[in-house]
Amino acid sequence: MSSHYEAPIREPLVLGDKSYHDISVDVGAPVLGKANKSWWIVFTISLIAFLWGLGCIIYTVSTGIGVWGLNKTIGWAWDITNFVWWVGIGHAGTLISAVLLLFRQKWRMAVNRSAEAMTIFAVVQAGLFPIIHMGRPWLAYWVLPIPNQFGSLWVNFNSPLLWDVFAISTYLSVSLVFWWTGLLPDFAMIRDRTNSPFQKKIYSILSFGWSGRVKDWQRFEEVSLVLAGLATPLVLSVHTIVSFDFATSVVPGWHSTIYPPYFVAGAIFSGFAMVQTLLIIMRKVSNLEDYITVLHIEYMNKVILLTGGIVTVAYLIEYFIAWYSGVPYENYAYLSFGAATGPYWWAFWALIICNLIVPLSLWVKKLRRNIVWTFIVALIINIGMWFERFDIIVVDLSKDRLTSSWAMFQPTFVDIGTFMGTIGFFFVLFLLYARTFPVIAQAEVKTILKSSGASFKRLRAVHGDDHSHVQTVEEYPADAGPAANILDKNFESPFNSSSEDVEKNSVDFEKDKGKIDSLLNAIGTFNPDTETQDDLKKINGVGPVMEQKLHQLGIFTFDQVSRMTDREYDLLDEIISEFPGRAKRDDWAGQALILKNKN
């Protein structure tokens, strides 16, 4: 089938000899299995940080914003820095899921789910800061245009701060809907694979009863495409509007027409750095190295290089224009000689080193494909992008037009605690997500398996591009390939004469009595009083008809099937002659053992 063709020069995106079933197993494993110790350790640390931050927030709200380090000159500091930082991080998810979908990038399939989760969790953190900063968060609904008791004093739609409210809430809700719609088939997979009744209940609610009808899939794909088309300009608009918060003001350093594109590039830059940070850990912890490969990491590093390059150019332009304008106030803007040598020199150089110099190492292919180095660079970029926002806000404000009011900002433990708290909250959410959600869009990965899977690429390399991609089929005559079925006429229906009459299907007990006894002696008999029968159809290769026959022989449990060896397979083949070699080929005993241990 040449429809699965992909240029051989492209590296595989799914490593190992994966079948569709393997993908379900690998993606379902973290959800269906138990958490390991390292998960609990990281979760506990995050939870403590979160609770500490919660305490700081309660202290802030109950006492007042005065507990922060703000002063008359610097009225915005860590709060808005953190806000912009978190919103920026929230940009990579939609970029991966939407923009890369429009560009038909197959590598997005393995990373989009987690990147979108990260987006949502990051935007939640971002949203906290303006609300806390209001001082009276219980009046947060005042930012909404609702008729009120003050005559009809409406909110001010001329203000970028209000545009922000609309942009961020639209972004959050659209991202959530996009994420959830993509999750439905994967929740359904978990729902149908789990053996625990509680999980089954939860995941059937979460999956909205997804059944996978062809019409549903058709709509699903269309909806995904349209949502991607809507989310792409949306994600650009969000950080554009965040940059308006600054760009529409008259503060030197803020009043800059370059801000919208520069902020968007910076947001994607920092977002991808955070995706790298999370995924490099997650692929290891959740054993997903076959899906999130070095190639994925390299692709993301290339995006980091591109957006980092845009940010670098923006920095240079800002620096140049600040100098070229000849305006003395501009010499104290965050990218200027004054900033580089002034009291905030360390913040200036942190920005330059972390965002401009260190990412340049990714031009080297070896480093770009080095996982440890990528992780370090990603952490450095995360720090650097925090400093970028800190510089824009605090450094620009610290030296305003009136020399007498120049000031420095000193964070209090509440500032620091709140920030650490949001990091904790973010990781709490992400860790819970990693244990309860299918972290890879398995349905989408299955669609690229035949074109980009390592084993299928090998198949094409050996047998040519037109070789059949049909995976091993369970039964004769389809094993010889689908085309063989039509020509081959010496085929016997399993429904002997009148198809639905299973009695006619029955085993010839008299003839095979000895064999059946010998078989049951080896694998044990079923006692209905003490044992319960298992659903043998769960074994790959056992259909309703085969199950019926096994029941007639007295085989009802996985335990019995799991004791089968070659001798028993041969006996079974002699008794039930229709599918010779089938049981052995599918390794019923091995499958049954796994199923038995799950129960």
Binding site: V174, D192, R193, G212, A443, V470, A478, I486, E500
Partner: protein
């Protein structure tokens, strides 16, 4: 009316595609196909009409845009015009540049959410909805094709489906009418 259907299970998407084409060519009616992932071109092969959900999204977007224009005009121009930062509030047209972000966001908000709600309603997806895939493995790695068997000889149809590469075939008799 009792309706008879045959469920044929396939283990491969290429095989399913071929089976769907062969079944349709043999003039059997495929009433439903359940797959674990979107099989490219399957909707066309089964003979489904193209979905119109993108059109609804466009219309919802227009609704959102109109709503934003109406809201801005009512709040900022008619109800309580104010001089804020010297931005002219005499007419909607003059003040509109400041409203572009809101108009854009509301367009996207309406288009995205109402389209997804439409999708959920049309495909009957909501919390507490019971899943209707007849075999649990169809969300994993199996593909199920449902063929109408009412007016056909079941045995011939079964053999035909077996020849198309089905690995399991079962006859389903439905008592309730649809």
């Amino acid at each position: 009316m009792a309706s008879k259907k045959i469920h044929a299970i396939y283990t491969d998407d290429d095989l399913l595609m071929q089976a769907v084409k062969q079944t349709r060519a043999a003039n059997y009616h495929i009433s439903e196909v359940f797959t674990p992932f979107p099989v490219h071109g399957l909707d066309h092969a089964v003979g489904l009409a193209a979905t119109r959900i993108a059109i609804t999204s466009f219309l919802y977007g227009l609704v959102g845009l109109s709503f934003a224009v109406w809201m801005m005009n009512y709040i900022m121009i008619e109800d309580w015009p104010q001089n804020i930062g010297g931005k002219p509030s005499f007419t909607f047209y003059q003040n509109m540049p400041a409203f572009i972000p809101i108009m854009f966001e509301l367009t996207v908000f309406f288009a995205a959410h109402l389209m997804v709600i439409t999708f959920y309603m049309r495909s009957k997806l909501w919390p507490f909805k019971k899943a209707e895939n007849p075999d649990l493995r169809t969300t994993d790695d199996h593909f199920l094709m449902e063929v109408e068997a009412d007016n056909h000889d079941v045995e011939i149809l079964t053999k035909f489906l077996y020849d198309t590469g089905a690995s399991e075939i079962s006859l389903i008799e439905n008592e309730q009418d649809h």
